[in-house]
């Protein structure tokens, strides 16, 4: 169920260059699944106007808390970064369809591939896959070491490999460079990150079952405004899908890349 709620800031911390981790408490946490997102109103005024879609990095249903990790780059996210413990944030969510955790069977191995600010939702996914008895391998791509985050958290859940564009951490290059080096063996993949990365991944493992999480500029976040549509392949009847409400996660091969 989608709710709009004033959630309480439990903690806000900078965890890498321009990367922030914000923990919020409220009832809508109870309905969250990994890969879904929230739509956050970053100020009490109409400047900036639109809500910001942000992915869910951790869910703690016992404490009614969730964590989001975002890059404070534009006006809205910089505003969000000024929130401190005890303040209230207007959140709409949870929105969209997340990763199908049940698609991986206990005993199988899942490859989780993330790029930049697409990495956070993979953390909750990995936690839930591990809880289900699925082994996880993480391949995470970043621009450089200073914007990497959650190394300990991912390593605690499974083998974790890094690719950085400048080579300052892990393999120099992209996530596909890691695939060539490590040749990971797995049964199913899940991914979230920039479009070129998703495209490369789909092409790299054509025989594997996989799920991709997309990003597109959004207006309403619930499917009413038609801003975030994507063309589809001829594998499905619909000629377009909405990232916000049909996705953001789609099975491999649905969205035309």
């Amino acid at each position: 169920m989608i709710r709009q709620e004033k959630m309480t800031v439990v903690a806000q911390a900078q965890i890498a260059t321009n990367i922030f981790e914000l923990t919020l408490q409220g009832q809508l946490v109870q309905d969250m699944t990994p890969g879904q997102f929230v739509h956050v109103k970053v100020s009490d005024t109409f400047e900036p106007l639109l809500r910001r879609p942000i992915s869910i990095a951790n869910v703690d249903k016992e404490k009614n808390e969730f964590t989001m990790i975002y890059r404070a780059e534009g006006r809205g996210t910089k505003f969000l970064a000024t929130n401190r413990e005890g303040q209230m944030v207007d959140v709409l969510g949870p929105l969209g369809n997340g990763f199908p955790v049940e698609a991986a069977q206990p005993g199988q191995t899942a490859l989780l591939v993330g790029g930049g600010i697409g990495v956070p939702p993979l953390h909750e996914l990995s936690k839930q896959l591990n809880a289900r008895g699925v082994k996880t391998i993480h391949v995470l791509g970043f621009q450089s070491e200073d914007v990497c985050f959650y190394e300990e958290e991912f390593t605690a859940l499974g083998d974790t490999y890094y690719a950085t564009v400048d080579g300052s951490k892990g393999t120099k290059g992209f996530v596909t460079t890691v695939f060539d080096e490590v040749k990971p063996e797995f049964d199913i993949f899940y991914s979230c990150g920039p479009l070129p990365m998703l495209r490369a991944l789909e092409g790299y493992y054509p025989e594997k079952e996989g799920y991709l999480s997309f990003e597109e500029r959004m207006g309403c976040g619930i499917g009413a405004c038609f801003a975030c549509v994507c063309d589809t392949t001829d594998k499905i009847e619909k000629d377009y899908v909405k990232v916000c409400s049909d996705g953001p996660v789609f099975p491999k091969g649905v969205v035309a890349l």
Partner: protein, 303 residues
């Protein structure tokens, strides 16, 4: 709620608040959030004869207190709108205003004729003002003679009253308003979005794939208020005002300028519960003005 009810051609409104076309889809998404029967009416997304794919992405961009969009009238076509979307809305006690679009007069006439027969469609909104499509939008709404001709053709084909949605992207909106009144329009809805552009800070190129987009949101409210004020003086048909409405005070402002009802657009994206919230706030706003019934404030700025 009797302090808020209003009668307009074809429309028995419980209250003057309705989501604006293009900002509410066909209601399904918002129906997950609240009871659509609370609304005065719903202006559904523009409907064309055939399925319309719309423009490439990115289709939206944020601006100062506003938003640019270039969706491009994407819709599933009249068969699906009537067979699925309007059927779905029959489950709610709310009149529907169907926004009618086309690429030529015959398209408008066909959509108007068919969609006006749907049991819950109580009025049409003739879309002659979309700035984001190459054919079938704004070019019908910028020349008074063309606007009058199209209005008359659609009016003749429709089984329900016809409201014409005016564009602010003209030299003199009053001329267009008079023309559609002369063409037989039962009412006017105004304003559509203002053509605008935002450039990417790094590349210097337009952010929106279409180049230009329609500007909406609080930034355009003063323009809309001025235009409603001017048109109210010039015509004798009711106006449904819109443009940057976010709260009960904005509704009071539009009605004071001459609107008989008010549509809420972009604010639905910012606060998804804004329409029912405004409806709840209105009685207090009337108390503050010492007014018993909301109709008393229509056009008060002219008195």
């Amino acid at each position: 709620m009797s302090r808020l009810n209003l009668q307009l051609p074809g429309l028995e409104l419980k209250n003057p608040i309705m989501p604006a076309s293009g900002c509410f889809g066909f209601g399904r998404e918002y129906a997950q959030l609240y009871d659509l029967s609370k609304l005065g009416a719903i202006m559904i997304k523009a409907t064309t004869v055939e399925t319309r794919k719309g423009n490439p992405t990115p289709r939206v961009a944020e601006t100062s207190a506003g938003m640019l969009n270039a969706i491009g009238l994407q819709n599933p076509g009249i068969d699906k709108v009537m067979g699925e979307e309007l059927k779905f809305l029959e489950g709610y006690d709310v009149p529907i205003i169907a926004n009618v679009a086309g690429t030529e007069v015959a398209d408008y006439v066909e959509v108007a004729e068919r969609i006006s027969k749907a049991p819950n469609v109580k009025a049409l909104e003739l879309n002659i003002s979309c700035p984001n499509v190459k054919c079938g939008g704004i070019q019908f709404g910028t020349d008074p003679a063309t606007a009058k001709e199209l209005t008359a053709a659609v009016k003749a084909a429709s089984s329900v009253p016809v409201y014409v949605k005016l564009s602010p992207n003209v030299t003199n909106i009053v001329d267009i308003a008079k023309a559609v009144e002369a063409g037989g329009a039962d009412g006017i809805t105004m304003i559509n979005t203002l053509v605008g552009m935002r450039l990417d800070e790094r590349t210097g190129k337009p952010v929106i794939a279409n180049g230009t987009g329609g500007l909406s949101g609080p930034a355009i409210k003063p323009v809309a208020i001025r235009m409603v004020y001017d048109v109210y003086k010039a015509v004798n048909i009711p106006i449904i005002g819109m443009g940057g409405v976010t709260c009960a005070q904005d509704v009071i402002d539009f009605m004071s300028a001459g609107a008989s009802a008010v549509a809420v657009g972009t604010a639905n994206f910012v606060d998804h519960f804004v329409c029912p919230t405004i409806i709840e706030q209105l009685p207090n706003a009337l108390d503050a003005l010492g007014v018993e019934h909301i109709s008393e404030i229509i056009g008060r700025s002219h008195r």
